[in-house]
Symmetry: D5
Subunit: 93 residues, 10 copies
């Protein structure tokens, strides 16, 4: 089941630099593990912003919330989730 | 080069039904031809709305505008285009 | 799987009165059948508005879109869907 | 009398961690006591956000404000209250 | 129990003039009967707008919705309802 | 001459607690003196928010600004003022 | 007593041309009479828009509403009124 | 003196097709004459929208309003004007 | 050439009080010098807000930006500039 | 390929003054190098704001994001990117 997610990262300017770098590194590892598992099949950078559009493929709303709230940067992000359905014109459907 | 596009369809309620059906049919054919060509690799329905999120893969801004303004439903849609870049965490990049 | 849905009804003022009444009657029957089936467990009127908040309990995003786009008033409504997860403080969870 | 409430939690990033954990624990206990009393019959997590949708069942506006302003996280939340009425299509009404 | 209500009137420009005048006259009579009953204790015109701020004093959310949805101009108004509680500084409370 | 005022209080989380309590106490005394003088005839709490709707009855715009800018919490509030006129349906006018 | 007013004119595209021209002419005469009386001391066109910013100098909110609601284009305008006070830095005050 | 202008074209769907085509043709001629005169040095299409960003180079606000309000499509456009100043980093300044 | 300007002052709550008072005093002197020169012919306080509406009369956009960016409170203000043209109904034009 | 970019600078008030000045100086050098290379052909100050409108001319979305995210002030700016296409009325196209 697919969901469209927008994440806007707002790390406080006064965060300790070491903590920041370590958190961003953990975020990357966490994301890549989910990408490899197939749960997070797509991620794109929005040009000019510290933001991404992503597609998630999960079993349930609960699984998606567990994944998103487990993001190391979750406390510093605004996240918007949109449920997706098959489009009637989709040639792959 | 990838672009994220949101399309919200707002067909006037007083449009002639035959014209409407014919236009929607042409829209579907137009979209599917572009999907098959690889220019419009993804399209999803937004749940509960007469709207879609799509990904376009084009050579230039001009090509994208030519494609979008050629949509049979273009006069009846609100369209928002967001340029996408490779995300540094993308395992496929 | 639960979804929170807000529906705002905007029937055009110039709709034929008989068509309007017949559509609203079909909407009611459609809604009540879904309520009885357990797919649409809750519906409340928003005070002062021709709008409702509803809870849907469905198997998938596709099923929810099929239900919502099948509403007789669908062409005349603005619909916003929010996926819900179990709250960690919910005593019933 | 039913009310629909949205709560968005915005705890300052520099709050002392012990104070934060203690406040969140008190919030949970406070909420669960009200849920068990029947005043707060439903609570759902909004997927991807530190937010909830809730239904309250109270005697009066004053009682609802007393409950909400007593929330341990009240100073750190944006709260929106919407009064609900019986929907004419509600099969349980 | 008090509620704050804002009403913005948007009568379509092409409404038949006789129907319009008759509807506005019924609206006035309806409002004045409720004012005299004590259910609608206050109404003010917003300067420069075809809008009002009102205070309603009712027994329940259901009663308020019944009153508001019964307004002859209800199909042509945007209405926003805000529940009110006693203010701790109110000298009359 | 009547004005409708909305006040949203946003006291910074790091304000010294003694200063805060003293300021809130002064705000209450200031408000109650104006209520008793007839300048501030009504004040209601907005349910679920640290906000109020108020009615002011003053001689001029200058007098209203002098009153509002003298509020002890003025530096910590967002204030919106709307001038009110007599409503043609008001039975008390 | 001064008020800042913004008026945005939205004449329906299907208004009869003669009615339109006659209404616009009456609007101009009405405005100029008020300007000459001193009630409407200033009016500026907003560049690129069918809109104006104006200053009104009236005795009361009721007088201002009477003036504004009497504008021949009133049914076709969005109007926003802001009460003005003397600025403490104003060298003319 | 430079101004940044955004124009969003909203031609009513029921406009007569001949009138529409004739108006759009006049708009093009009007724009090109101003471009050649140096008053309208730049114009770009916004991808996916019936809109443009333009730069105007005029002597005064009055001249700009005269130009914009003279556009054949002026009654069918939303226009936003932003005055521009020399940027301190501009290598051409 | 006239411009309409709105300034909203947002001085940080933790600014040193002496610095604050000195900055506000310099702001007043700067404003009054410009008022006396005829560049800043009008300034009004917006009732209930730490904001003003002003009219500037300058030779060019560059001159206006130089004036505004030189305001001692410029780093602590949100400023919106609207170019004004002569209104066709203005009796003084 | 052209892109329209708006940048709003929001440097935290408590940033060390030396760091601030050094960052702003590096921003200027970075911008001017890109202007001279032809990648950033135009930049204008928005009157009254610490903001600019710019035009970028790049090979791809990825190149634009690399340029923008490399701005020394990138962590302190809100950036909005709009892809541009050739306008059919452009006399230079």
């Amino acid at each position: 089941m697919l969901f469209h997610v927008r994440m806007d990262v707002r790390i406080p300017h006064d965060m300790d630099l070491t903590v920041r770098e370590e958190t961003v590194a953990r975020e990357k590892a966490y994301s890549q593990e989910l990408q490899r598992s197939g749960k997070w099949p797509q991620i794109w950078r929005i040009v000019g912003e510290y933001s991404n559009y992503s597609i998630f493929d999960v079993e349930s709303n609960d699984e998606l919330h567990e994944i998103l709230s487990g993001l190391p940067l979750f406390p510093y992000m605004d996240i918007t989730v949109t449920p997706l359905a098959t489009h009637p014109s989709d040639v792959k459907a």
